[in-house]
Amino acid sequence: MARNAGRPSSLESVSPRGERRPKPKRSVGRYTLLSLTAVTLLLPVWVTVSGAIQPYSEVLDYPASLIPWPLTTEPIREAWRIANLDRYLINSAVVTVLIMIGQVVTSVLAAYAFTFLKFPYRRALFALFIGTLMVPTEVTIVANFQTIRSLGWLDSYPGLVAPFLAAAFGTFLLRQAFMSLPREMEEAARMDGMGHLRFMWEVVVPLARPAIGAVSVFSFLTAWNQYLWPLIVTTDPDMRTVQIGLRSLASANLDELNLVMAGTMIAALPIIVILLLFQKQLVRGLTAGAVKG
C-alpha cells in the first residue's frame, strides 16, 4: 500500500540522462527526492481529485483506493446542482475583479502623488498609508460590519468590495517602482510640456507595467481567497463567494464528502489556471521586500 505513495507520477518521470553538468548519480538521487517530495505535497490534492471522480462507495470502501475507479462525473454534477456553484463563481469573479481594478487604480494614483508631487505633510500621509498595514480586516470586523449594515450594504457587491478598494501594500510597491524611474525622464517630460496626468498615463504607467502586474496578480489572489469578510457580510446564498459557498457545501454534506471534494476541486481550478498564467508577476509581488534587488 505504501508503495503507491512513492510511485512517481508522469510529471516527474523526467530522464536525468543528457544532463551535462552534475554527475548522473547525484542527479538520480536528487530526482528521486524531488519526486517523493512532490508526491507527498500533492497527496491532499490527489485525494480530493480522486474522491471527486469516483463513486462515494469506492471512497468509503476500506481500504479506500487511491486509484479512482470506476470514473464518474456524478459527484461533480451533484455538487454543482445542490451548491449553486456557478452563482458563487460569478460572485467571486465580480468581487475579485472589482477589488483588483480598484486597488490598482487607487494605488497608482496615490503612488504617483507620493513620488512626483510636492505637498505639505507628504511624509506623514505616507506613514499613515503604511500604518493601515497594522490594521488588518480581522481587527475591525465588528465596527466595519456595523458600518456596512448601516449603509444597507449587507448581501451586496458594494459591501463585499468597498473596504478593499485601497491598498497600502500596492501603493508602497508602486511607489518603489515609480521612484526607480530615472529622474531625467521626469525632467524631459516637463521640458517637453507634458502635464502630470499625461506623464502618468503616457510614461509612468507603461514603464511600471511589471510592478503594476505584480500588484494586480497579488490583489487578485488575496481578493479571490478572502474568507472572513465575505462570511460576515453575506447571509443570502445568492451573494456568497465561492469560498463561503464551499463552507456551506461542507457543513451541509459532511456525510457525503465526495461532494465536498468535487466542490473543492471546482473552486480551486480557476485560481490554479491564473497562477500558471501569471506565475512571474505573482512571484514578483510575493518576494517584494524579501530579497535584495
Binding site: P182, E184, E187, A188, M191, G193, E202
Partner: protein
C-alpha cells in the same frame, strides 16, 4: 531666436550655495560652454535656465523676458540630457513627437516637422525603432532631434557626449558645431571636459564653487586665466603655480618684491643650465609624442615641464635649471588668487 541674461542668479540648497550670484549675458546664436569640475554648480545653472529649478534669488531672462516663474515647456528652451532620457516604450518618431503634441499642432504639421528633424540628424531610417534597438550615438541623435524639433530659441545640453566612446565623441563634437551653424540658435552647453569647451565654444564660462570665474573666448581663458582656479583647471597637464618672491626673474613681478604666485604652462618653460629656477628631477614620463619631466623646486612645490622627444632628457635625481618663457609668465595675487596686471 533670443539671447539670455542671468542676473545675480543664486541657488541655495538647504545650507549649501550651489550657484552664487552669477551674472552672465549670452548673445543670440552664441555657443556658450559652461565649464567646471563636477559639483561646481554648472549643471544647476543650466537647470535654472531650463526651469527645472527655481532661483533662490536673481533672475533668468530669455529674449528680454524674465522667466523665473515660467514653466519649463513655455520658456522656448529645449534640453538634451546626459542620459538622453528617451521614452523607452515609444518609437523614435513618437519620442520626437512628444513636445509637438504638447503644442497641440495638427498631425500633418507634426509629421513634417518630425521628418525634417530626422533628416537634419540623419536618423530618418530609424523612426520606427525603439530606443533599446539603437546604438549610443543614435540615441544621442534622437535626443537632439527631440530637442530641435520644436525650434527652441535656446538649446540646453547637459554633458551630452559623456556616454559616447572616445572616437564617437570627436566626431560628434564636429557635428554639434555644424548643427549650431545650421540652426541659428543659442546653445548653452555644460561640460567638465575642457577639450569640448576649447573646440566648440564661442565663449567659455568657467564656473567653480558656484561662482563665475571667467568668461571669454577659449583662447583668452587659456592664455590669460583670470585667477589661479581657472589657471589650474584649464590645460593638461595644468599650469605650474609656485608661490614665492622671485628676485632673480628677468621679468619683474608687479608686486615690489612682495610674495606672489608665479604661473607658467608646462610647454612654456625651457631646461637650461642658467635657468633662474632650480629644480630636481623626480620622474620622467614618456607619452610618445612628448615627454613630461616632473621636478621639485625649492620650497617643495612640483613643476611639470613638457619636453620635445628629440631634446635631451634629464635623468631622475639630476639637478636642472628652468627658464620660463618670457612673456608667457602669469602673476597672481597669493591671497585672492586673482591675476595681476
Amino acid at each position: 531666436m533670443a539671447g539670455l541674461q542671468l542676473d545675480a542668479l543664486t541657488k541655495r540648497f538647504d545650507d549649501t550655495l550651489a550657484v552664487d550670484a552669477i551674472d552672465l549675458d549670452i548673445a543670440d546664436q552664441e555657443f556658450l560652454v559652461l565649464l567646471g569640475p563636477s559639483g561646481c554648480g554648472k549643471s544647476t545653472v543650466l537647470r535654472l535656465i531650463a526651469g527645472l529649478e527655481y532661483p533662490s534669488s536673481g533672475t533668468v531672462s530669455i529674449g528680454g523676458r524674465i522667466v523665473n516663474d515660467v514653466d519649463p515647456a513655455k520658456r522656448d528652451v529645449a534640453m538634451v540630457f546626459q542620459s538622453y532620457a528617451l521614452y523607452p516604450h515609444k518609437t523614435v518618431a513618437q519620442n520626437i513627437d512628444v513636445p509637438l503634441r504638447s503644442q497641440k499642432l495638427p498631425k500633418e504639421t507634426r509629421s513634417e516637422m518630425i521628418a525634417e528633424a530626422a533628416r537634419a540628424l540623419d536618423i530618418a531610417d530609424l523612426l520606427g525603432r525603439k530606443p533599446a534597438q539603437l546604438s549610443g550615438g543614435q540615441r544621442q541623435r534622437v535626443a537632439l532631434a527631440r530637442a530641435i524639433v520644436r525650434r527652441p530659441a535656446v538649446f540646453l545640453m547637459d554633458e551630452p557626449l559623456s556616454n559616447l566612446d572616445a572616437a564617437l565623441r570627436v566626431q560628434t563634437r564636429a557635428e554639434l558645431v555644424d548643427l549650431h551653424d545650421r540652426l541659428d540658435t543659442t546653445f548653452v552647453y555644460v561640460t567638465h571636459d575642457q577639450v569640448e569647451a576649447m573646440t566648440m565654444a564661442d565663449r567659455v564660462a568657467v564656473i567653480q564653487e558656484g561662482k563665475l570665474q571667467q568668461v571669454g573666448p577659449p583662447s583668452e581663458v587659456y592664455d590669460e586665466p583670470a585667477n589661479t582656479m581657472v589657471a589650474r583647471f584649464i590645460g593638461t597637464p595644468p599650469m605650474n603655480l609656485i608661490t614665492g618672491s622671485p628676485t632673480k626673474a628677468p621679468e619683474v613681478a608687479p608686486t615690489d618684491g612682495r610674495e606672489v604666485v608665479v604661473g607658467f604652462r608646462p610647454e612654456h618653460v625651457a631646461i637650461t643650465p642658467d635657468g633662474w629656477l632650480r629644480g630636481k628631477v623626480l620622474l620622467v614620463e614618456s607619452l610618445g609624442h612628448e615627454r613630461l619631466v616632473h621636478c621639485e623646486v625649492p620650497g617643495g612645490e612640483r613643476v611639470t615641464i613638457r619636453v620635445d622627444p628629440d631634446d635631451a632628457i634629464p635623468h631622475d635625481g639630476e639637478p636642472i635649471g628652468l627658464a620660463p618663457t618670457p612673456g608667457r609668465i602669469h602673476w597672481f595675487d597669493p591671497s585672492t588668487g586673482r591675476r595681476l596686471p
